[in-house]
C-alpha cells in the first residue's frame, strides 16, 4: 500500500497574544491509499489543524509531512485534494451547478458540464442544478459542497466535520451515502468528527486525539467489513471499537481542568 499522507514528528505552535499554543505535538501518522481515516477528539485537540496542515492552509513548525510524496504546498498547487469545510460555503449568487463547477472554472477544465453532472449524481443531487443554495436544505447544501470537492476528481478528500451542523437523522443518511460514494470512487478520505458512532461507522482507521498539546493517543484499525449497513452499529464488534475510542478519549482528557 502506498502512503498518501505521511507525518513524522509533526508539530505546530500558534503564536498568540497570550503566549504560544501548541496545537500539534509529535504527530506520527500514515494514511494509505483508499483508506477512510477519521480524526476524533475534543475541541482543541488539533484534528482540524492537522487536516489544514495536509491542505497547506497551516504551516507546521516542527517535523515533516508529505502529501502524495510531495510537500503539502506542492500538493495544493497540483490540486491533489478536495476539501469539504464545516459549513457548505456555497456562493449564494451561483446556482448549484455553477457552484459545483467553480473549481473547474478556476482550474480551467474544458469538460465542465459532464464533470458537474457526474459529481451531482454521486451525491444524489441530480435535478437541482438550477436551484440557488438558499432553496436547498442544510443537508443538501452540504452534499453540494461535497460534489464541488469531487468535481475535479482529486484522489484525496479532506472533510472537516462536514455533518457537524446537521441533525442526527440527516447525518445517518449522509454517512451511509458517503460510504457508498467512497466505495464507488475509491478515494482516500480524511474525516474530522467529534462523534464516536460516526467515526466508527465510517472509518477503516480511527485516530484518537487529545488536547493541550494536541497529540495522537490511539490509532485503531477497524476490523469491520467495508460493506456496512446502518444496523452494523448494533453489533458487538462495532460496540467494542466504540468503547476503545471512548477509553482513548477519556485517557487523553482530564475533566478536572
Amino acid at each position: 500500500m502506498t502512503s498518501v499522507v505521511s507525518a513524522r514528528g509533526l508539530g505546530l505552535t500558534f503564536k498568540t497574544g497570550d503566549g504560544d499554543v501548541q496545537a500539534l505535538s509529535d504527530v506520527n501518522l500514515d494514511i494509505n491509499r483508499g483508506e477512510f481515516v477519521s480524526f476524533i477528539g475534543p475541541s482543541g485537540c488539533g484534528k482540524t489543524t492537522f487536516l489544514r496542515v495536509i491542505a497547506d492552509l497551516e504551516q507546521p513548525t516542527a517535523g515533516s509531512i508529505t502529501v502524495n510524496g510531495t510537500s503539502p504546498a506542492d500538493a495544493r498547487l497540483n490540486r491533489s485534494y478536495g476539501y469539504v469545510f464545516q459549513a457548505p460555503a456555497l456562493l449564494p449568487w451561483r446556482t448549484i451547478d455553477r457552484n459545483v463547477g467553480l473549481p473547474l472554472e478556476i482550474m480551467g477544465y474544458g469538460d465542465s458540464a459532464a464533470r458537474v453532472s457526474k459529481a451531482l449524481d454521486l451525491v444524489n443531487l441530480t435535478g437541482f442544478e438550477k436551484k440557488f443554495p438558499w432553496q436547498l436544505s442544510g443537508g443538501m447544501q452540504q452534499r453540494a459542497s461535497i460534489a464541488r470537492a469531487l468535481a475535479f476528481d482529486a484522489d484525496l478528500l479532506l472533510m472537516d466535520e462536514p455533518f457537524g451542523a446537521l441533525d442526527e437523522i440527516v447525518r445517518d443518511h449522509l454517512n451511509s451515502e458517503l460510504l457508498k460514494l467512497w466505495a464507488r470512487t475509491e478515494k482516500t478520505i480524511a474525516f474530522v468528527t467529534h462523534s464516536i458512532p460516526e467515526a466508527v461507522y465510517l472509518s477503516t482507521k480511527i485516530v484518537v486525539m487529545s488536547p493541550r498539546p494536541g497529540r495522537v493517543t490511539d490509532i485503531i484499525d477497524s476490523p469491520l467489513p467495508r460493506e456496512r449497513p446502518l444496523d452494523i452499529r448494533e453489533t458487538p464488534e462495532f460496540l467494542a471499537i466504540a468503547a476503545r475510542v471512548r477509553d482513548g478519549l477519556r485517557a487523553g482528557h482530564s475533566y478536572e481542568e
Binding site: 495544493r76 464545516q86 449564494p92 478556476i106
Partner: protein, 293 residues
C-alpha cells in the same frame, strides 16, 4: 380603496397635503409686508383677508412663491419654449444631467479602483484612507470655483470641470462601501479559493466582486444624488455654461424666486429619478444573482 389605505399611497398623500397647506399659509405670512406696501401705494385699505391672501399668492417676485406659482414655473420652464431654447428649464436640466452622469461614472470608477487598491495592497491600505477622508472635509463650495476657473485657464471648459466636481463628491461613498464590500468574503470562502490554488484575479472576479455588489449599489445611490449636487455647484461658478445651477444663480441675481424654486424642484426630481434608476439596476442585479425575493 382598501388597497390604497393598506399601502403607502394615502399616508404619503396626506403628508403632501399638509405640506402644501402649510406652504400656502407661509406664503401669506412671508409675502404680506410687501403686499401691504403695494396696497398702501395703491391706496387700497381694508382688503378682506381672503382677497389679501390671493394677492400674496399672485406676486411677480414673491419672497415665497405659492405652490401653484412654482408648478406654473416648472410647467412653462419645461414646456413653454423649445427644448433647445436657453429659456427652457428642460434644456438646462439636460446640461446638468450630462455633467452629473459623466461625473458619476468617473467617480464610481475611481471609487472602485481605489477600493481594489486598498484591499489588495497593504501600503495603499495604510496610506490612502486618511487622505480620502480628508478630501471630503474640504468644503466643495470653496474648491469648485478654483477647479472651474483653473481648468478654464488651461482651456478645459464645458462639461468636464463640472463632471470633475461631481466625481470628487461621488467617489467617496463608493470607495468606503466597496472597501467594506470587497472585504466581506468569509475566511472559509477565502480558504476554499486557496485550496483551488486560485490566482488573486480569480479570487477577485469570482468571490470578492460578487460579494461586494450589494455594497456597490448602496454606495451608488448616495453617489448619484451627490453627483447632481456637485454638477449644480460647478455650474454656480460658470454662468456661461448653462445648467440648473446657472438658473438658480441668475434667479437669485434678479429676484426671480419662482424661477429659483422651479429649478430647485426640477433638480430634486432629477435626483429622485436617478436614485430610482440605480434602484432598478439593483433589482435587476439581484434577480440575476438569485437573491431571495
Amino acid at each position: 380603496m382598501r388597497g390604497l389605505f393598506a399601502g403607502k399611497t394615502v399616508p404619503v398623500l396626506i403628508v403632501l397635503l399638509a405640506i402644501v397647506l402649510f406652504w400656502y399659509v407661509m406664503a401669506v405670512v412671508m409675502n404680506a409686508p410687501w403686499q401691504e406696501t403695494l396696497n398702501g401705494r395703491a391706496n387700497l385699505t381694508d382688503v378682506p383677508l381672503l382677497e389679501f391672501a390671493q394677492q400674496t399668492w399672485a406676486q411677480d417676485k414673491p419672497v415665497l412663491p405659492a405652490p401653484h406659482q412654482v408648478a406654473g414655473g416648472i410647467w412653462t420652464g419645461l414646456f413653454g419654449s423649445a427644448i433647445t431654447a436657453p429659456r427652457s428649464l428642460a434644456y438646462h436640466a439636460g446640461i446638468t444631467l450630462g455633467a452629473t452622469m459623466l461625473g458619476f461614472a468617473l467617480g464610481t470608477l475611481l471609487g472602485i479602483g481605489l477600493a481594489v487598491m486598498i484591499v489588495h495592497n497593504d501600503a495603499s491600505d495604510r496610506s490612502l484612507m486618511p487622505w480620502i477622508i480628508a478630501s471630503q472635509t474640504i468644503p466643495i463650495l470653496a474648491i469648485a470655483p478654483m477647479v472651474v476657473v483653473g481648468l478654464g485657464a488651461v482651456g478645459v471648459t464645458g462639461i468636464v470641470p463640472k463632471a470633475l466636481i461631481s466625481m470628487y463628491l461621488s467617489f467617496f461613498p463608493v470607495v468606503v462601501g466597496m472597501v467594506k464590500g470587497l472585504r466581506t468574503p468569509e475566511a472559509i470562502q477565502l480558504d476554499l479559493m486557496r485550496t483551488y490554488n486560485a490566482s488573486a484575479w480569480q479570487v477577485f472576479a469570482k468571490l470578492r466582486w460578487p460579494t461586494s455588489v450589494p455594497f456597490l449599489f448602496a454606495s451608488m445611490k448616495v453617489g448619484i444624488a451627490i453627483s447632481l449636487i456637485g454638477a449644480v455647484v460647478g455650474e454656480l461658478s460658470n454662468s456661461a455654461g448653462g445648467g440648473l445651477g446657472v438658473r438658480l444663480l441668475t434667479g437669485s441675481y434678479n429676484g426671480q424666486t419662482i424661477q429659483i424654486w422651479a429649478a430647485l424642484f426640477i433638480a430634486a426630481g432629477l435626483a429622485a429619478m436617478l436614485v430610482i434608476l440605480v434602484g432598478w439596476g439593483e433589482k435587476l442585479a439581484n434577480r440575476r444573482m438569485g437573491v431571495r425575493a
